[in-house]
Amino acid sequence: MKTIILGLGNTVLGDDGVGVYVARLLRGCMDETVAVREAELAGLDLMEMLNGYDRAVIIDAILLEGEDPGTVFRLRPDDMKISPRLASCHDIDLVTALALGKRLRFHMPREVVVYAVQGEDVLTLREGCLPAVERVMAPLAEEIAGFLRGVPCERISIDLAERKSGSA
């Protein structure tokens, strides 16, 4: 089974870069069936990057109302039932990208897990994350490594359905 770990984010936008940093922690720790990549892309580009893999783990920043910075959510694509194109104004969203890839008969991952870290500030140009987000990077990398190896490990992420403030 071929797996891709994809860290998404912008490393000059503070907490927005968290996905990239966590992916970097995982690089070198995984066996040859796992590719680790980082990207600052969305939509159609994402579809092309995921093509050819059986399983994908995506790490990204998120901003949900009323959540504490550093909270990690685990999502499945079904958790993101949203408008088919407005996630990004210039591109299609992840759910549509996966569906489009399948429609075009690309080899899209059968399993997609998204780890989303609540950011504090993703709008100020700055390198590196703020402390609340920085703190969860190493434990999150460990959780992802354990998940991919099928080894029971301590979870810091919570499923989006368990989110205290409700719907997403």
């Binding site: 998404l8 984010g9 912008n10 490393t11 000059v12 936008l13 927005d16 990207a39 600052e40 892309l41 969305a42 939509g43 159609l44 994402l46 092309e48 990204d60 920043a61 998120i62 901003l63 949900l64 109302e65 993101m80 949203i82 408008s83 088919p84 194109r85 407005l86 996630a87 990004s88 104004c89 210039h90 591109d91 299609i92 969203d93 992840l94 549509t96 569906a99 489009l100 429609r103 075009l104 008969r105 998204v114 989303a116 993703v122 709008l123 100020t124 140009l125 700055r126 719907s167 997403a168």
Partner: protein, 486 residues
């Protein structure tokens, strides 16, 4: 007064919101779009050597990295007061044409086309890129993606990278084009011209030959009469990479023409107390509000405004399409906002033809791609046409070339006032006195801002958060009376 909020941005809850204000009679009084803005750019580049800036700015926006790379690269040339070698200009332009095709094609096929190919009234679940593929077929879908990948590959072959280019340096570019790479790009460029022609034919067959769509395009709701801005060459033909900025008024008369270093004499930015957004306007006219019509101080900068601001296209096939377009829509300048989608495709054809011209230029593999700057750096401005409007980068440095100050006017910003006014008009049309909100509101508002291809956030990826599109109707006390979302 009631307030209707539409929140089209999923990633940043509470940002990127459309607010529609309804007065006590239930009529729309005003509408504003608020876009999340990055903070701290000036501080971030302060202390950075100017030659590194063009490598940093593509990272602030993954949607138009090449546009920022080009504007900052040209500004760095100006800081050193250096005229780059002819082949370096041609290579930069070649690279940039591929970026335009990549960006415009994504917008047309993934975002704009579903409204037309499936129809604005088609069920929401079908009116998207998946429905589009079902309608036009898998083969066309695959071909669109292949052509998009080719335009990406051209950027990689010419400039090393597509998303984070590091190729522009003061005085030119870091590497020449090899003969092998040139031969590869030659074949691709020819394919891209065919792809552009195919896209225009599709637009013609599906949109223009359907009276319903043509009526929608030519109707009054999607109309806005302002001044228009765009870069032009010495013959007043559209140019994306270099030239002078030309502004024409609502009748098409040239009213302003300026070179890069003079932009501050002609463009000023207005700020409203309710928003952190800036609204650029023509300085000579003074800010005269969110009004359209002859005499307005507002301008638009986007595909159709660019074509309005010029006298034509510099390549033959694009020129023929330009003439056909303006003839069909009743002359130039055209104030029908949805014609932007057509203009965008005319620009794709121009970019592809221009790419073919450049790659067949005998000089294109000339190894002399840089001159070493020898003057003391000071201050410089670089202007290019970004896919979504005129892009200006301005830097000041100390005598060692270390940035002390920066100013940017990005593509979408030019259109901030225009977007708000377009949304207002749509809302006025759909929200009738009494405050009833029609079902068509969400999609029609979407169509209004989508035609600008706005770059809402320079953050480049987008993990969805909550509601993608929410309308809240509030009374004067701020209580929510109704909420529509999807």
């Amino acid at each position: 007064m009631k307030r209707v909020d539409i929140d089209p941005i999923t990633r940043l809850e509470g940002h990127g919101k459309i607010s529609i204000f309804i007065n006590d009679e239930g009529s729309v009084e005003n509408a504003y779009l608020q876009i999340p803005e990055l903070r701290g750019f000036e501080k971030f580049v302060e202390g950075v050597p100017i030659e590194e800036v063009s490598r940093i700015v593509p990272r602030i926006c993954g949607v138009c990295p090449a546009a920022h790379h080009m504007a900052a690269g040209k500004a760095a040339d100006a800081v050193y007061n250096v005229d780059i070698p002819p082949v370096a200009k041609k290579l930069r332009e070649l690279y940039y044409m591929a970026h335009f095709i990549h960006s415009h094609a994504a917008h047309f096929y993934a975002l704009a086309a579903p409204d037309f190919v499936l129809g604005p009234d088609a069920p929401k679940a079908q009116r998207n890129v998946l429905g589009l593929i079902d309608k036009v077929g898998l083969e066309i879908g695959r071909e669109v993606l292949r052509q998009r990948a080719i335009s990406q590959d051209i950027q990689i072959l010419v400039g090393g990278r597509a998303t984070h280019p590091v190729w522009n340096i003061p005085g030119g570019v870091t590497r020449a084009l090899s003969v092998e790479s040139r031969d590869k790009v030659k074949g691709w460029a020819a394919e891209q011209v065919q792809f552009a022609e195919f896209s225009l034919k599709l637009f013609n067959d599906v949109v223009l030959s359907n009276k319903k769509y043509l009526d929608l395009i030519m109707g009054d709701v999607f109309e806005q009469v302002t001044n228009y801005m765009g870069l032009v060459d010495e013959n007043n033909r559209v140019n994306f990479y270099q030239g002078q900025v030309r502004v024409v008024d609502t009748t098409g008369q040239e009213i302003i023409r300026y070179s890069e270093s003079q932009y501050l004499d002609h463009v000023a930015e207005h700020v409203e107390p309710y928003s952190y957004l800036k609204y650029p306007y023509l300085k000579e006219r003074g800010w005269n509000g969110f009004v359209e019509g002859q005499g307005t101080s507002l301008y638009q900068a986007n595909p159709l405004p660019r074509l309005n601001a010029a006298d034509g296209m510099a390549t033959p096939k694009a020129q023929a399409e330009y003439e056909k377009m303006f003839e069909t829509v009743g002359g130039k300048p055209c104030h029908k906002l949805l014609v932007n989608h057509w203009a965008r495709l005319v620009e794709v054809l121009y970019a592809a033809e221009r790419m073919e011209e450049l790659i067949n230029d005998e000089e294109i593999t000339d190894p002399h791609v840089r001159v070493i700057p020898s003057t003391t750096p000071r201050e410089g401005v670089g202007i290019v046409e970004a896919p979504r409007g005129t892009l200006t980068h301005h830097y000041w440095t100390d005598e060692n070339g270390i940035v002390t100050k920066a100013n940017l006017i990005v593509g979408t910003t030019n259109n901030n006032a225009s977007i708000s006014m377009a949304i207002k008009k749509v809302a006025q049309n759909l929200i009738k006195p009494g405050g009833e909100v029609s079902d068509g509101l969400l999609n029609t508002v979407e169509m209004a801002f989508r035609l600008y291809d706005p770059c809402f956030s320079c953050a480049t990826h987008s993990l969805p958060g909550q509601m993608p599109l929410t309308v809240e109707i509030k009374n004067t006390a701020g209580e929510t009376l109704n909420r529509i979302s999807r």
